[in-house]
């Protein structure tokens, strides 16, 4: 209970909650497009590639202002993306390999630079390593304002070019034939994605930031078939995951925020993947089971029909054992119950099973229909 009170009345916690909610919304929205365009891995590459940018921005300016570091991150993230495109276009290296190479090279360089900068005797260097795993507790009001402003820029871009981005994501070639400059749109949408990622790095960290891009969008897809609703849901899931993770981390014993946020996001994903109607695993399993039962019932009805014909007499009853021998016990029990309910078969006083007139009609209808 006290956590909820603190959320509204404790200044630090409120700041943290606002900041993480904002970045969760932005990464959810841009993540939706990344996931639909099958660019989930690009998010991972951008966030890892941002690390050397952050360290260099600090080394060059001596400033730890969020805006300065975020700018450095954005430039490095963009360079990484550009490099991926260049490698794919000019060599035979496939895209996933190019992403992996750029990601690890940039991240490696970033780690080396980070170690180097932190060895310097100046006092102000401390705290850059929070960009690795994220530390929401360090969020200040001016950080939140930076996050909100840059986030609004990314969201504004999506709102403005909503129709174009939707078309680009669904059918890029068709967009090009309509005269839209698809390259420019690509750059615009990727830039918005870079923005969404870099504003989350201080809070979530470069290592796990891609989860904030992918997870809310992947979860949202489970619940809806509309792009608009998917974007709104992803924003909501992102905000929930961000605030939950950050608040747990900030109130707890300095657990890094990134892992906590990712755990929260994973919970949302797990619930969505199992419970969502239509696409969820539970529903899929139920559907499969219904289907299997229907198939089983049909097979047993076929057996009854064949047996009745073999024995000439229409009302010749059969022991369950005969049917069991043909199909297996559990299938037959369930099937007979279903057939009795549908009045396609019935049992007499001795427990013998007969096919009914309507059962016979159905089998004959199926056979002629299938021929």
């Amino acid at each position: 209970m006290s956590v909820f009170q603190d959320l509204f009345f404790d200044y630090t916690l409120r700041t943290v909650a606002l900041g993480t909610a904002a970045l969760g919304i932005v990464s959810g929205v841009l993540g939706t497009f990344a996931v639909l365009r099958r660019q989930s891995l690009l998010g991972d590459a951008i966030s890892h590639a941002a690390l050397p940018g952050i360290v260099l921005a600090f080394a060059l300016t001596g400033s730890k202002a969020t805006l300065v570091l975020v700018l450095g991150a954005a430039i490095a993230g963009w360079l990484g993306t550009l490099l991926v495109m260049l490698v794919v276009r000019s060599t035979r290296v496939p895209e996933d390999a190019a992403l992996g190479i750029v990601l690890s090279v940039f991240f490696g360089v970033g780690l080396v630079l980070l170690t180097f900068v932190q060895r310097r005797p100046t006092a102000s260097q401390a705290g850059l390593d929070r960009f690795l795993f994220g530390q929401a507790a360090t969020l200040l009001e001016r950080d939140v304002i930076t996050i909100a402003l840059l986030g609004a820029l990314a969201l504004g871009c999506v709102a403005l070019f909503w129709k174009e981005f939707k078309l680009l994501s669904f059918d890029r070639d068709f967009a090009a034939t309509l005269g839209f400059p698809v390259r420019v749109l690509d750059v615009l949408l990727t830039s918005a994605l870079v923005l969404a990622i870099v504003i989350g790095l201080q809070t979530v960290g470069v290592v796990l930031m891609s989860a904030m891009v992918i997870a809310p969008a992947a979860a949202a897809r489970q619940w809806t078939n509309s792009l608009t609703i998917m974007v709104l849901l992803a924003a909501l899931f992102g905000a929930i995951a961000g605030v939950t993770g950050a608040v747990i981390s900030a109130t707890g014993s300095h657990i890094p925020t990134g892992p906590m946020i990712v755990l929260a996001a994973t919970t949302v994903v797990a619930l969505s993947f199992t419970l969502a109607p239509e696409r969820g695993l539970v529903w899929a399993a139920l559907r499969r089971r219904r289907q299997r039962h229907a198939v089983g019932a049909e097979a047993v009805l076929d057996d009854l029909y064949a047996l009745a014909r073999q024995h000439g007499a229409a009302v010749h009853g059969h022991e369950v054992g005969v049917l069991d021998a043909l199909r297996g016990r559990s299938v037959v029990r369930r099937a007979l119950a279903q057939l009795a309910e549908d009045e396609l078969a019935r049992s007499d006083e001795q427990g013998r099973w007969h096919i009914t007139a309507s059962g016979r009609a159905q089998v004959e209808r199926d056979r002629t229909g299938g021929a």
Binding site: L36, L160, F161, W162, K163, E164, K166, L167, S169, F170, D171, D173, F174, A175, A176, T177, L178, G179, F180, R221, T224, N225, S226, L227, I229, M230
Partner: protein
């Protein structure tokens, strides 16, 4: 070759500017030529099939006309002007398999996308665009599916949705990449009906086509292609066993009858 085998005949070929004019078009993937020095004139108002074996460059030809693949050389004119200046006159029906049908959107939404070019930047589709989309869906007998999520469609229904999206573009030249590929009989009939309506309205339709036996029935103009242009012209003149053998390198698949004589009669 080929020019003398066919084109230049028929009333539609003379006089007016051709719908499509392709000059010296060459396309290569990594130094490997896919289309070699193609010259092609499609008169306005014809229903033309592009046929040829797998890997002949049929889809690439359409994509090169649309500027979707970069040509190493060549020029494309649509109704007398470069494609880029006249692109509003051209509608494209891509191969059904080229998009992700699990994309979260509805049938009506996809068809409305055909209006995005005319809407231009920033303007959102409104009631007018919705009505146009519904009218196009009616033309392909898919109005009842307007609200459906696109992943719930059968292959044939997907194809009809793509056709409707091209119809709302209100173009004069339609380029279709294998619209009959793997569709049901109902869809095939619906597409053929639409093609005939378009021709009746004076529009030009170019279709990448696989089933040779339906060429004389569905089309009045044909291009035989195998990296190079083998022949182009009216089906009655150009769609001969001799040209087909030339195109398919001796073996003519799926095409036992009708004999060339029948072809002429049908065309």
């Amino acid at each position: 070759m080929g020019e003398e085998r066919g084109s230049g005949r028929g009333p539609k070929a003379n006089g007016a500017t051709p719908a499509i004019e392709v000059n010296d078009l060459t396309v290569a993937y990594r130094e490997h030529p896919v289309l070699w020095d193609i010259d092609l004139t499609v008169p306005a108002g014809v229903l033309m099939a592009i046929v040829g074996p797998n890997g002949a460059g049929k889809s690439t030809l359409i994509k090169a006309i649309l500027g979707l693949v970069r040509a190493a050389a060549g020029q494309v004119l649509v109704h007398g002007r470069p494609y880029a200046e006249n692109r509003r006159l051209v509608a494209y029906v891509p191969q059904r398999g080229s998009v992700d049908w699990d994309f979260p959107t509805s049938v009506l939404d996809v068809v409305t996308m055909g209006r995005y070019g005319a809407l231009g930047w920033l303007r959102r589709p409104g009631r007018r665009e919705r009505e146009q989309a519904l009218a196009a869906l009616a033309q392909v007998d898919m109005v009842d599916y307007a609200g459906r999520q696109i992943s719930q469609l059968s292959g044939g229904q997907q194809q009809r949705v793509f056709l409707a999206r091209a119809l709302v573009q209100d173009a004069r030249v339609y380029l279709m990449d294998e619209p009959f590929q793997g569709v049901d009989a109902k869809t095939e009939r619906a597409i053929v009906t639409v093609l005939q309506q378009l021709r009746a309205a004076g529009d030009t339709v170019v279709v990448v086509h696989h089933a040779l036996q339906t060429v004389p029935e569905y089309f009045d103009w044909v291009t035989l292609l195998n990296v190079r242009r083998i022949a182009v012209g009216p089906v009655a003149d150009v769609f001969t066993e001799d040209n087909l053998r030339h195109t398919y390198g001796g073996r003519v698949p799926f095409y036992a009858s009708p004999s060339p004589g029948d072809v002429r009669a049908l065309g």
